[in-house]
């Protein structure tokens, strides 16, 4: 019997993660002549893209206007065309300082010696701890999305979403599409965290937003049955009946492999937490190690793609497959696109912490509405309800008549020439924000026809009656469907035209087959005292004990706290609790004003059968 007998393999470039960043890195390195292998623990490529069924922002370079899963599929196809080897269901369990990668593949566990490693492992969902957070039915929004869009299983009947960022808004919308009821979206902030166009989509479906509200607890015997939420101003407690509580409270970069490999880690709360230090070209502090995508700091998918390309170029250059001159040219192109993507105040706000996004000025808006009202008497005309400078341009590309122009790059607001618009509605179908509508008052007689994009599963046919909804989710009243376009074509956005009284012409933003009355939460007079609850579910340590251990201030560092308290030492190795523990430690522990190191990362970063480590097959 040999003492050690794991198979070994030499690889030129190993990309870890087959999401947007990893696939783009692979394409770029392979097209420069490198032999590239991509390993991903999932059984399909695309990463988060594979469960995104909505149309994406960005420019055509990033597949804007296409649905996320389509972009993922295309990137994977391009990888294969470029000669990239995709190894799916292959978890990288360790990236050792020696440079070796330990990979658990469907057949067996092996070691790879790559000449360069690009870490594109994405991000993980953050969590928050509250009484009831261990009940079945409490889940990350991303997890709910995986259930509905990959496994096609509804997590429950009635969902309450916590977090009004883009993830919370999009997943709430998709839960509706999948047939769940959404009881509301709760956020402690006083304004919506995500893009307004996403907020608009959920609001017109009648999903109430509870801003300045705080999640208190989830209760139930076998699973979530009710959720208590507190209104910050009044202190009143509301009780929602729901069987699913989705948490969309942010993402943490998942860069543990880079940390294990010895990359210098830095903390940046604006990027979501600990990330490997990296330069503009996505090189880390370790030679032959690159980082891209959310693992380098949480941003948008289109940014992840460009960062992936950048990392691929750098790796190819360092391996000698790409000359310095050519590399510089390619890098410049990527840099320009990145600059463009990050130019908008919406995205820049995240990086520069500038605060709110730029919004269209209300006088100009009123003026535009007056114009649309006037001209729609002569025939159909687009009304663009895009108010934020998000990086996105499918409307401009959709318009054959040049009526929509983005004056200064993809982050500028569309400027719209009413005289050129013929109301063809191509832009309506392609706008990822579903924020363009066609208004037509030419039929007269006090009626108007409004065309809206529709992606819900309730079937609505021509000549049927339907409810017209405004942008805030108020039901304006009944109208008659006069036209249905794009029905029965998978992937296409349906266009519904509804005939309504003229005075609603500028108000209609959505159409609903059945009137959705979301049950309002019950107000509770007296709040019960919140009982203690499990914090570390692996080691069964209560929240109050955790608080007390930290408050005692006995432990000098997070690793010491872990060692003595055993919080984070169990099966999950801190994947659930580390970020919460860290925040608590920073708030109450002795770590004040000090850099707090994270848990030490050691292989395996995912549990693995001992037989696998022992080199057994199958």
């Amino acid at each position: 019997m040999d003492v050690m007998d794991l198979p070994r393999e030499k690889l030129e470039v190993l990309v870890i993660g087959a999401g947007p960043a990893g696939l783009c890195a692979a394409i770029e390195a392979a097209s420069a002549g490198c032999e590239v292998t991509v390993a991903d623990e999932n059984d399909r490529p695309g990463g988060q893209l594979s469960k995104q069924i909505h149309r994406f922002f960005g420019s055509s370079h990033h597949g804007a206007g296409k649905r996320g899963f389509e972009i993922g599929r295309e990137l994977a196809e391009n990888c294969l065309k470029a000669g990239v080897e995709l190894r799916l269901s292959s978890s990288v369990l360790g990236l050792f300082p020696s440079g070796e990668a330990m990979i658990d593949s469907p057949s067996r566990l092996y070691l790879a010696n790559p000449g360069a490693v690009i870490v594109a492992t994405g991000a993980s969902e953050k969590s928050i701890a509250f009484p009831g957070w261990t009940l079945p039915g409490v889940m990350g929004a991303g997890a709910a999305q995986t259930l509905i869009n990959i496994h096609r299983v509804l997590p429950g009947k009635r969902v309450l979403m916590v977090g009004s960022g883009n993830v919370g808004l999009i997943v709430a919308y998709q839960l509706l599409q999948a047939g769940a009821e959404v009881a509301g979206i709760v956020d402690v902030a006083d304004s919506v965290g995500g893009y307004q166009v996403h907020a608009g989509r959920v609001m017109r479906e009648g999903i109430p937003l509870y801003l300045r509200h705080r999640l208190l607890s989830a209760r139930g015997s076998m699973g979530v049955e009710e959720i208590l939420v507190e209104a910050l101003e009044s202190g009143k407690v509301k009780r929602f009946k729901a069987d699913v509580l989705c948490l969309a409270v942010g993402l943490s970069p998942l860069a543990e492999l880079a940390s294990m490999r010895g990359c210098r880690m830095i903390e940046n709360s604006r990027l979501g937490g600990f990330v490997p230090w990296h330069d503009r070209d996505m090189r880390t502090s370790q030679t032959d190690m690159y980082i891209a995508g959310d693992a380098s700091g949480v941003e948008e998918a289109s940014v992840a793609m460009e960062e992936g390309r950048m990392a691929g170029i750098s790796a190819a250059e360092d391996l000698g497959s790409l000359g310095a001159k050519e590399a510089a040219i390619r890098r410049e192109a990527v840099m320009n696109r990145l600059r463009e993507l990050r130019a908008g105040t919406c995205t820049a706000a995240k990086l520069e912490a500038k605060g709110g996004c730029m919004q269209i000025n209300s006088d100009a808006r009123d003026e535009l509405l007056r114009e649309v009202w006037k001209k729609s008497a002569n025939g159909p005309l687009a009304l663009i309800d895009c108010r934020e400078d998000i990086p996105c341009n499918p409307c401009e590309e959709a318009c054959r008549r040049g009526a929509i122009v983005l004056d200064s790059g993809i982050c500028s607001l569309p400027s719209f020439d009413l005289d050129k618009c013929d109301g063809c509605a191509r832009c309506v179908a392609l706008c990822p924000g579903m924020a363009i509508f066609i208004i037509d008052r030419s039929m007269g007689e006090g009626f108007a026809r409004v065309t809206v994009p529709y992606e819900m599963s309730d079937e609505i046919g021509p000549d049927e009656e339907a409810w017209a909804m405004d942008g805030e989710g108020n039901c304006l009243g009944k109208g008659r469907i006069t036209r249905v376009a794009g029905a029965g074509r998978p992937g296409h956005t349906m266009l519904l035209t509804i005939e309504v009284p003229e005075e609603w012409a500028l108000k209609v933003r959505g159409v609903s087959g059945r009137r959705k009355l979301v049950e309002e939460p019950e107000e509770m007079e007296d709040t019960e005292i919140v009982e203690d609850f499990t914090f570390c579910r692996c080691e069964e340590i209560n929240y109050s004990s955790m608080r007390e251990i930290i408050a005692r201030g006995e432990f000098y560092s997070l690793p010491a706290l872990r060692r003595f308290s055993r919080i984070g030492l169990g099966y999950c190795q801190g994947r659930f609790c580390q970020s919460i523990l860290r925040d608590q430690f920073l708030a109450d522990g002795p770590g004040e004003g000090r850099e707090v190191e994270s848990f030490r990362v050691r292989a395996p970063v995912r549990p693995v059968k001992l037989s696998r480590l022992g080199g057994e097959n199958g």
Binding site: V3, M4, Y571, P604, L613
Partner: protein, 390 residues
């Protein structure tokens, strides 16, 4: 901390040895400051298993010391404010061939004369005591006096108790220099200020060389890496501490038990397994010289896993959730270094416990307290003198 501190005794190192020394010193009413560069048990005491093994000790002063330490343990455990999960579970050392079993039998006789009861079990008896053991295992040496403990809580318990009795613990505090005047230690300079003290114990484990340099004494301690796999927590499945006979070879330097394979010798591979109170099974281990590198390696993880599957085939189905490595303060003959330092009055060494720190902590703590406060010890510690090395 701006004010100048003073203390009757300064203990350098907040591992199990330093904590035990502080505990016994405080019991005698001494005033103690523990200076710890990171946090309690940040070194070897926090990165090891909980074996309290006796069969692996060298017959003679080493085994005597271990027996004395084990005798002290129950009352200490009783005295601590927290439960260190002390469990007199007994230990099994497995023989994978007849030669090993024969050698184990011979050794059992030898240790018996030194006062340690070890029973030799045939394959059949072993199977009863350790169901699920590989059928190829020929037998085992069983020592009922062996036990396990949680080294992390044990260290914390000792330190907390010492603190209760008045000891101060300075964490994140590094020693920068030791001031010696007229051949007597006077002051310990730290990153948190200066501490006046006429008695200093170096219990700095693998950091002892650096401390030695400050008083111009060569301490021949070097880091010896040990790697361990941690499985998921499970229901009770293993109620003894278990090791392979090769462990005697790699740990106790007994040639007849050394593994035959060159790679295994290079790694210092020896099978160990214990289930902790929290249910995780810790599977070890290696003895490697890799400087201060504390990373685990894929080779060792693979070798440890294979070895474990050989002895206890059922472990193959367990999930491994983590690996870790610790650095033992290895001394050239594997025996601890406990003595006053010549030419530097008031400076004492308590280091080099190699892989036996947890097991020998109790007796070491007591002996250091005696040595520092009374100038003499109840047990002859001359075999552990620093000056035994040339």
């Amino acid at each position: 901390m701006d004010d100048v501190l003073s203390s009757e005794v300064v203990v350098i190192g907040g591992g199990v040895i330093g904590a035990a020394a502080a505990y016994f010193l405080c019991k005698e009413g001494a005033e103690v400051i523990i200076v710890e560069a990171e946090d309690l048990s940040a070194g070897a005491s926090g990165a090891c298993d909980g074996f309290l093994s006796l069969q692996t000790k060298q017959v003679g002063s080493h085994l005597d010391l271990a027996l004395e330490s084990m005798a002290l343990l129950p009352s200490i455990v009783e005295d601590l404010g927290i439960d260190p999960e002390y469990n007199r579970c007994g230990g099994l050392m497995l023989a994978s061939n007849q030669d090993q079993l024969k050698d184990l039998r011979a050794r059992a006789k030898k240790v018996k004369t030194a006062g340690l009861e070890v029973e030799i079990l045939g394959a059949h008896e072993l199977k009863e005591m350790l169901p699920g053991v590989n059928k190829e295992i020929k037998g085992a040496a069983y020592c009922a006096a062996e036990a396990q403990i949680n080294p992390i809580t044990f260290t914390l318990g000792l330190a907390q108790k010492a603190q209760e009795m008045g000891a101060r613990i300075l964490k994140g505090c590094k020693v920068e220099n030791i001031v010696v005047t007229n051949n007597r230690v006077r002051e310990v300079h730290t990153t948190m200020g200066s501490i006046h003290s006429r008695r200093v114990i170096c219990a700095a484990g693998t950091g002892s060389n650096e401390i030695g340099k400050m008083i111009i004494v060569d301490i021949p301690v070097m880091p010896q890496k040990g790697q361990i796999l941690v499985t998921e927590a499970r229901e009770p499945m293993l109620d003894k501490i278990v090791s392979g006979a090769e462990y005697l070879g790699t740990k106790a330097n007994l040639e007849e038990f050394l593994p035959k394979d060159e790679e295994a010798i290079r790694l210092g591979l020896g099978f160990t397994a214990e289930q902790t109170a929290s249910g995780n099974i810790l599977i070890g281990s290696t003895r490697e010289f890799a400087g201060f590198d504390r990373e685990t390696t894929p080779e060792a993880m693979n070798a440890i896993a294979k070895n474990a599957i050989f002895y206890l085939p059922w472990v193959r189905d367990l999930d491994v959730i983590r690996s870790f490595a610790g650095l033992r303060p290895y001394s050239p003959d594997g025996l601890p270094i406990m003595c006053p330092v010549k030419g530097v009055k008031g400076f004492y060494m308590a280091t080099g416990h190699s892989g036996d720190g947890i097991c020998l902590a109790a007796v070491t703590g007591r002996l250091m307290s005696e040595l520092v406060l009374d100038g003499e010890t109840s047990i002859d510690i001359s075999p552990f003198s620093l000056y035994r090395f040339k």
